[in-house]
């Protein structure tokens, strides 16, 4: 997918004028946010669990090479294959080769953000293979040829009416007279259509929420069961995932699972949590003949030990975006690529370059709510600031803005000059602002287009204080 992150401002403006989107985003507060708060309140040890989960990931990242090799060894022992992919290209090539070798015509897909990251659907389509998304949200956006707007609820930007319209447009083989008013009717139509696809697919591709080194297991959490049908029914199962998903043991996986669903949807556990180890064994009733894991790096190993290291702890729960005032106002598409919200503001520049994605780490009020809910305690605002520092050092900060900043800093670093200047400016502005506020002001349109600017009271505090001191 071609990123539009550079156009964040116009994307955001468009989103702000999109009423159905704003209605859809309004539901996040009543849903995800309220449910997470309840789940947290119901588990007294939640804060301790966050520390434990963080420690698990930190330990793993400190020994990532060892755990990845141990994981690979176990996958191979249990009859699977591991394909190391240092870039998105490598991952796409590996997946396409497996599909071609199998003579695949259709591929079912469970929800995978790494799949979105490498744009696997487009790649397969170009090769004449039909990918079918089986997660309901992913299916909806695939019909609309849209990227996901949220990492766990990819179609959160859509309303029921939009879904109905899309189904009527796409499922033309069904009666136009059918009733599609209730969400249940929409879900059951999607289920019926997808059931055929599950049975017909040659290959099933899923992501992984976790990889377990001691057993060579991949773990997925879903609420629809589509992931299980995707990985069990076809002859071949491909797991497309990334290197930072590995944890040492089953117990470590459990620690992370305990914070994952609570942080994401507010569930104690997602409806389905599936552990998959290798292909079908002798005597197994079902399962694929081949089990492949494509392990993507795509710049992640370069983040180790650097300014963005902490981002590798991310477990893709989406709590940061659910609690973000900016995401809540503009939604995920404004961010212009696969990963939106605060986690996207940090991750996207590492993956597609800060030149393309420079707006994202800037479009934050630094309110800190993302960090306060992140189950892995990732200091998201701090890392957004690191991007701003890099932009500043690279000379990517907008020229006018930088000139203003420099002028201000020049004065602020010289207290005597600064107080002489403010001592002139404040009383002057106060005289012009007799109404107590300005409805407009030159160079302050960014502020006064939307709100009044309170006027100064008159002399500065420093002036008044010195006068008071002199009188004493």
């Amino acid at each position: 997918m071609k990123p539009t992150s550079h156009a964040f401002k116009s994307n955001a403006k468009e989103a702000l004028g999109n009423e159905p989107l704003r209605r859809a985003l309004g539901g996040i507060k009543r849903g995800f946010v309220a449910n997470r708060a309840r789940a947290r309140a119901n588990l007294p040890e939640f804060e301790d669990l966050r520390d434990e989960a963080k420690a698990v990931k930190e330990h793993t990242l400190a020994h990532l090479d060892l755990y990845l090799e141990a994981y690979e060894k176990k996958v191979v022992e249990t009859g699977g294959h591991v394909h190391w992919a240092s870039s998105a290209d490598d991952a796409r090539a590996a997946i396409l080769k497996i599909c071609r070798d199998a003579g695949a015509k259709t591929v079912t897909k469970g929800k995978s953000m790494v799949g979105e990251e490498i744009a696997i659907n487009e790649h397969l389509e170009q090769a004449g293979i039909t990918p079918v998304e089986t997660d309901l949200g992913e299916y909806l956006i695939q019909l609309r040829h849209e990227p996901p707007s949220h990492i766990i609820a990819p179609a959160i930007h859509l309303t029921k009416d939009q879904v109905e319209a899309d189904f009527r447009k796409t499922h033309t083989e069904l009666s136009p007279e059918r009733v599609l008013e209730e969400p249940e009717q929409l879900v059951s139509e999607a289920r019926a259509i997808l059931r055929e696809k599950f049975l017909a697919a040659d290959v099933g591709i899923t992501g992984a929420n976790l990889l377990i080194a001691e057993t060579g297991t991949s773990v997925i959490v879903t609420n629809e069961g589509n992931g299980d049908l995707t990985q069990c029914l076809p002859r071949i199962h491909i797991v497309i995932t990334s290197i930072e998903k590995v944890v040492p043991t089953l117990e470590d996986a459990d620690t992370i699972l305990r914070v994952l669903a609570r942080s994401a949807t507010g569930q104690e556990f997602s409806t389905y949590t599936t552990f998959t180890t290798g292909p079908k064994r002798e005597g197994d009733l079902d399962g694929p003949d081949e089990y492949h894991v494509v392990l993507l790096d795509n710049g992640r190993s370069e983040m180790l030990g650097g300014e963005f290291h902490d981002m590798l702890r991310c477990i893709r729960c989406g709590a940061c975006m659910n609690h973000c005032p900016v995401y809540g106002a503009v939604g995920g598409h404004a961010y212009g690529w696969v990963y939106p919200g605060p986690m996207g503001a940090v991750l996207t520049p590492t993956l597609i370059g800060v030149g393309e994605a420079g707006h994202l780490p800037n479009a934050s009020t630094f309110c800190g709510r993302c960090e306060s809910v992140c189950p892995m305690r990732i200091p998201l605002p701090k890392m957004m600031r690191h991007w701003r520092e890099r932009e500043y050092e690279n000379g990517d900060t907008p020229a006018l803005y930088k000139a203003g900043l420099k002028l201000w800093a020049f004065a602020a670093k010289r207290p005597a000059l600064y107080h002489r200047l403010t001592g002139l400016v404040s009383p002057l502005l106060s005289r012009f602002g007799r109404k107590g506020r300005f409805a407009s002001m030159p160079l302050a349109g960014g502020w006064t287009d939307h709100r009044d600017l309170p006027a100064p009271q008159g002399k500065t505090f420093q002036q008044r204080w010195r006068e008071r001191e002199t009188r004493r």
């Binding site: 630094f366 960090e371 207290p415 502020w447 287009d449 500065t460």
Partner: protein
């Protein structure tokens, strides 16, 4: 009120005025001085202070941010405490200076020692000086917005509410989502005006829904944003810094209001 009269035990507090209070609303500074003096402190205002450096720090300009941090630390040498009527600036001084100056061992140590002495005004009064009530009158129904940095970096939440409960005539009515950002975000509101506007619109709707006479908060930046939005929307809700109310200094017109408005 916890008053200490003996001068030898009176802590010396340096008031970090904050650039916005200095420029826009000095009355907040005088309210802070009164509250600190009532809490038994000797207050001084170093002339060598300017701004905490956040505009530079949050724009990626580390060099200027560092210079301003070192300037602030030097300006407040010798004080027992450094107190700011702003969670945002106090958070910068307390939590971000050590981070910003962490690379150089000498500055890092200076920043760490400085950090221990820094407090946000209201939490200093309650948590450090043991203030549990004020003598003030304010015949008004108010709602309180929890500014982000104060709340999440410094844990300012109950302290202002505790003191407000002792103000004669004041009724506190809580708004929905009091802890959610108002959309100010320092330079954010200038860089992304449309997004900032969408966020503050939600905030002012929540404020209005709680039907107060007056909005209070502990940060002038957020207050200017919300007050400016409310006056643009034609809402008859005034906005004040919480220190003005706690100090009983509410004679000045509210933020963004004129003397005529007050009449």
């Amino acid at each position: 009120m916890a008053k200490t009269t003996e001068s030898s035990t009176r802590p010396r507090v340096g008031l970090f005025v904050t650039c916005l209070v200095d420029l826009i609303r000095p009355s907040v500074g005088f309210a802070a001085v009164k509250l600190l003096e009532d809490a038994g402190c000797d207050v001084a205002v170093p002339a060598a202070q300017t701004c905490c450096g956040q505009p530079a720090y949050n724009s990626g300009d580390k060099a200027d941010a560092r210079a301003l941090a070192l300037n602030t630390i030097a300006a407040f040498e010798g004080f027992d405490y450094v107190v700011a009527p702003s969670g945002s600036c106090a958070g910068m001084l307390k939590h971000h200076y050590p981070e910003l100056l962490g690379d150089d061992p000498q500055s890092a140590e200076q920043a760490r020692a400085f950090s221990e002495r820094v407090f946000e005004l209201i939490s200093f009064l309650v948590d450090v000086r043991g203030f549990d009530r004020v003598e003030a009158d304010f015949q008004s129904t108010v709602t309180y917005h929890d500014s982000c940095a104060g709340l999440r970096e410094l844990g300012v939440k109950q302290q202002p509410r505790k003191l407000l409960a002792s103000v004669n005539g004041l009724t506190l009515t809580e708004m929905e989502e009091a802890e959610i950002c108002c959309g100010f975000g320092g330079t954010f509101c200038i860089k992304y005006p449309d997004v900032s506007n969408a966020i503050v619109e939600k905030k002012t709707a929540n404020i209005a829904a709680s039907d107060p006479d007056c909005l209070l908060a502990g940060d002038l930046g957020c207050l200017m944003n919300m007050a400016g939005k409310m006056s643009r929307e034609g809402r008859a809700i005034e906005a004040r810094h919480v220190a003005e109310v706690l100090a009983g200094m509410t004679d000045e017109p509210a933020i963004g209001q004129s003397i005529e408005d007050k009449k």
